[in-house]
């Protein structure tokens, strides 16, 4: 086109040039080249041959450039050297060609200022017509008002109209109607400013088609600058324009596509600059393209994702390979949604990247679904791992194909090994058969399984498990998996075992204590009994117990009592403690104590629960005990006499000491020379006083034994001996002494005070126990023997094989001050002897052959007993006999 325009300009009747904004002249037409004699160089540059002195020349060039820099049309005179060497002043008029408001190029027209005009007008016109006709593109010449004055032949050929027809060009649509206004406006503009115009418009060809032309309008002016004519050059640019338009249409279409795609599209320059963003994406962001050009510094990408996004884009820009990343983008309302962004380079034919297209697809729902799924999976894994049991997964053919962490932790073996559970020893040998039967049976039948077995933990301990398995079936009903749950029931099992044991214990304890338990649901009269309760009521344990069963066993009083208890228990909560008497089928009686409590049970039913104790025997024993209790108090007092005697001895010895000392003093002062009668009298007086004191002590001692006159009655010696043994049982046990009895049969009863005789026996027994205290080399045994004497007496002896006493001591054992034991029980024997003698009996002691001693006494039988029942302690301390009669 340039060359074509150049050709056109060359043919113009005038000197025309074009200049770049910096002042370099890149074109001159033929006229100007001929005028100056300076042709265009090969490199399309042309130096204006300014004819002036060097300083002025540079001023002119400078002025030209400064005019250019103003960007406004201008006019200036330039002295120019003509080709023939003559200097001519040329008036230069320059107009800028603007594109997008910027000066692209200047076009200039130079005329000779001193050019003569008018004198050769017609010739000039003829020339003019000839020249115009020779221009190979359509040229129109118009008057300054726009009327067509002339057309060259190419123009007439193109339009296929006559000059006359074309004069009215504005009306006959020579110019495409869409372009007409725009052309007229440009022409008017050019006219008013006196410059040229350059527009693109469509013109109707003779065949009825509009073709695009670049129309360059140049004004032809007279010397005074008045526009005489306009030259309009029409350069056919239709092919280019159509290509341009097609491209624009495609681009428009592409733009339309971009806009209509329901996904976000970003267009980036090869260097990553944002060039365009489609509507959906702009609307999503709620921002303008301008705002988004600097997206890296905005919050449109989630802060957590921004670095990744920037890296992805910059890596792609650097490497030229596509990128694909998932990030959260901020919606206009502030919400973030997940997008998958895929960036692809668009490459030209020579493989250079022209653009980047980045597709933004909203994957939020998918992402959420993925997250939810992952969460569910994690959760279910968590649940499986969190289950307090082990999960095993089997294939339909019973192969273990999976398990949770717990199962691996428990065995600490891999799943593949656990599959050999039947052979690798992890199943308890005793349980193996039931495992195989139950499990394989379930596999074979497809029925759920449930059994218990012991499994070997990694540390070598066996623990009980409950194994439950269910098949998972597909829609066709085929089993695809078996899911097994292994629950550790070892503790439960152990609890069951200990419960069973404690129930057994309880049963034993109930039996031993003759205590049974019961419960009675008051709403339904449903009765539950423990085994011992059955035994107490003497009911067959297999029989069903009803309230009637209970009531039928009660005597009259108990029946009423129980009815009252039941009434109160039905009315509310309470504690009951009552005795009942059972009448057994054999008419024997049982005394039963009942402790019960009524309250609502966990099911909300009013229930009476409690315990029944068979107290028949203990009641009997209690009665017996009550009988002896009164006697026991006295016996206890007497058996503690040994301790008492020590203090009595002390009491007696004090005045005795005084007496002895006084007597000695008395003797000394009386035998002195001269005798000290005063001191003698004093000592004698003190002797009398001390002797009386000693007598008082004795009186007190006697009072101890004569507090209550005991009655004489017929006594069974075996019976009272048995009672004493029973009373001394705890002492015997503590001393680890055993007692053997050798009781005579059918002994006559003796006449005696029961408690006093028991006291004597007790004394002998305790002496024997104490005599055995230091014995460690042989069994500690005491033998108590009773027998009837032919002399009308009953004799009882207590033998021990303890320390005994030497033969020289034998005479002293009944001495009130004599004892072989630290507890000072010596007086015991002397008191015993007093008691026995008060019964007209006799008491003696002898050493045994091997060890120890035997102490015995004999009491006359009742028939020969005297009437006297006074029992006194007699002072027989002077006796040296071992046998007293």
């Amino acid at each position: 086109m340039q060359t074509e325009l150049g050709r056109v300009l060359d043919t113009l009747p005038g000197m025309v040039f074009s200049a770049l904004p910096d002042g370099r002249i890149d074109f001159v037409n033929k006229d100007l080249a001929d005028f100056s004699g300076v042709p265009m160089t090969e490199t399309n540059t042309w130096e204006w041959p300014v004819h002036a002195e060097p300083p002025e020349e540079s001023v002119i060039v400078e002025r030209f450039r400064s005019k250019l820099s103003l960007g406004e049309p201008f006019e200036m005179d330039v002295p120019t050297l003509r080709a023939d060497g003559e200097s001519r002043l040329l008036r230069v008029r320059c107009n800028p060609m603007l594109t997008d408001g910027k000066v692209q190029k200047w076009y200039g027209l130079a005329t000779e200022c001193d050019l003569a005009s008018g004198d050769s007008r017609s010739e000039h016109e003829t020339d003019f017509q000839r020249i115009v006709d020779s221009i190979p593109v359509p040229v129109a010449v118009t008057t300054p008002t726009g009327d067509v004055e002339a057309l060259n032949n190419p123009a007439l050929e193109y339009f296929g109209m006559t000059l006359e027809e074309l004069k009215n060009w504005k009306a006959i649509e020579v110019v495409h109607p869409e372009d007409l206004q725009h052309i007229i406006a440009d022409q008017l503009e050019a006219h008013s400013t006196g410059t040229f115009y350059n527009v693109e418009s469509r013109h109707l060809r003779s065949d009825g088609l509009y073709r695009w032309h670049n129309v360059l309008g140049l004004p032809f002016k007279d010397r005074d600058g008045n526009i005489l004519r306009w030259f309009h050059l029409l350069v056919d640019i239709d092919d280019r324009k159509r290509a341009e338009l097609a491209l624009a249409a495609r681009e428009r279409e592409a733009q339309l596509v971009l806009e209509s795609i329901p996904a976000g599209i970003g267009v980036l320059a090869p260097d990553g600059e944002v060039e365009a963003i489609n509507g959906p994406l702009l609307r999503y962001y709620g921002r303008t393209l301008e705002e988004l050009r600097d997206w890296g510094n905005t919050d449109v990408v989630h802060p957590d994702d921004m670095p990744r996004m920037i890296t992805a884009v910059s890596d792609a820009i650097t490497s030229g390979s596509p990128y694909d990343t998932e990030v959260r983008l901020r919606r206009a309302d502030g919400a973030h949604r997940w997008f998958q962004i895929t960036g692809h380079p668009l490459k030209s034919e020579d493989d250079n990247i022209v653009r980047w297209y980045a597709l933004h697809v909203d994957i939020n729902d998918r992402k959420r679904a993925e997250e939810a799924l992952a969460e569910r999976e994690r959760e279910s894994r968590f649940i499986i791992d969190g289950i307090a049991g082990m999960i095993a997964i089997f294939s339909p053919d019973a192969k273990l194909i999976g398990g949770n962490q717990q199962i691996i932790d428990y065995f600490q073996r891999p799943i593949e090994e656990l599959d050999n559970w039947a052979t690798n020893g992890i199943t308890h040998p005793d349980d193996l058969q039931i495992c195989i039967d139950s499990f394989m049976g379930a596999i074979a039948t497809g029925e759920p399984y449930d059994y218990e077995t012991r499994f070997l933990r990694h540390d070598g301990t066996w623990r009980w498990f409950q194994l439950r398995g269910l098949p998972l079936r597909n829609t066709d009903g085929q089993i695809v998996r078996w899911y097994g749950l292994l629950t550790d029931i070892d503790d439960r099992k152990r609890t069951e075992e200990s419960l069973r044991r404690s129930e057994a214990f309880l049963a034993d304890a109930q039996r031993l204590s003759k205590t049974g338990s019961f419960s009675l649901k008051l709403g339904t009269d449903e009765v539950t009994w423990s085994a011992e309760t059955y035994r107490i009521f003497d009911v067959d344990p297999s029989a069903k117990v009803t309230l009637r069963t209970i009531l039928s066993r009660l005597d009259h009083d108990s029946f009423g009592r129980v009815q009252r208890v039941l009434q109160r228990a039905r009315e509310g909560n309470g504690d009951f403690d009552y005795d009942i008497t059972l009448v057994m089928p054999d008419k024997s009686m049982k005394h039963v104590r009942v402790l019960a409590h009524s309250e609502r049970n966990k099911d909300g039913e009013q229930e009476l629960t409690g315990a029944v104790q068979d107290v028949t025997e203990s009641r009997r024993a209690e009665e017996t005990l009550n009988e002896v209790r009164s006697e026991l108090a006295y016996v206890t007092r007497v058996t503690s006499l040994g301790v008492l005697t020590a203090s009595i001895a002390h009491e007696v010895n004090q005045p005795l000491a005084g007496i002895v000392t006084n007597a000695s003093t008395c003797l000394r002062v009386l035998t002195a020379e001269p005798p000290n009668m005063e001191v003698a009298k004093d000592t004698a007086r003190r002797m009398i006083r001390d002797a009386n004191r000693a007598a008082e002590v004795i009186v007190r001692l006697r009072a101890l034994f004569s507090r209550k006159p005991p009655t004489i009655e017929p006594i069974d010696m075996n019976e009272i001996a048995s009672e004493v043994i029973a009373l001394a049982l705890s002492d015997l046990q503590r001393a680890r002494v055993s007692v053997a009895t050798d009781f005579g049969h059918s002994l006559p009863r003796v006449a005696g005070a029961r408690v006093q005789l028991q006291q004597v026996i007790m004394n002998l027994l305790r002496n024997a126990i104490e005599a055995l205290a230091g014995i460690n080399d042989r069994p500690k045994q005491i033998v108590i023997k009773t027998q009837a004497d032919p002399t009308g007496e009953v004799q009882i002896s207590v033998s021990d094989d303890g320390v005994g006493f030497g033969s020289q001591e034998m005479g002293r054992i009944f001495d009130a001050f004599y004892t072989t034991k630290p507890d000072g029980m010596g007086i015991g024997l002397s008191v015993s002897r007093s008691i026995v003698e008060s019964h007209n009996g006799r008491l003696w002691a002898k050493a045994n052959n091997n060890h120890g001693a035997t102490v015995a006494f004999a009491i006359p039988i009742y028939e020969v007993a005297r009437e006297s029942c006074d029992v006194e302690v007699r002072d027989r301390s002077d006796s040296i006999s071992g046998t007293v009669r």
């Binding site: 001895a649 002390h650 010895n653 000491a657 000392t661 000695s664 002062v669 001390d690």
Partner: protein, 122 residues
């Protein structure tokens, strides 16, 4: 006489003993003081002047052996003759353990007492 200066103190809660012993002891040729309890003796001015202490074992308050321990604690090494109405040979051994001169069981003879005191002042 040299022995005239020697002081025998008697501590016994029993009045019979406190009344009868001084006459006899004076006959033996010693000075004598009686006290009815251990505290009375300890609080008196006679502790340091006592040359021999005749001491009852069982007394209300501080017993005889306790008084002996107290004297040992104070550093008063007075020869002690225990007298007791509780006749038990087994008691004699522990009583003699802390260095008592003798232990006489009541009632004791004048000869036994004289021999004991002679032994103390030998």
């Amino acid at each position: 006489m040299m022995t005239e200066r020697l002081l025998v103190s008697v501590v016994d809660d029993d009045a019979s003993v406190r009344e009868s012993l001084p006459d006899l002891i004076r006959i033996f040729g010693y000075r004598v003081r009686t006290f009815s309890s251990a505290d009375e003796f300890l609080d008196s001015e006679w502790v340091s002047r006592t040359n021999c202490l005749i001491l009852d074992v069982a007394m209300p308050g501080m017993s005889g052996p306790e008084l002996e321990e107290e004297l040992i604690r104070r550093g008063d090494r007075i020869p002690i003759v225990f007298i007791t109405a509780h006749k038990d040979e087994n008691d004699r051994i522990p009583l003699m353990q802390n260095g008592a001169v003798a232990c006489l069981f009541k009632p004791f003879s004048d000869v036994a007492l004289q021999e004991t005191l002679d032994r103390v002042f030998a």
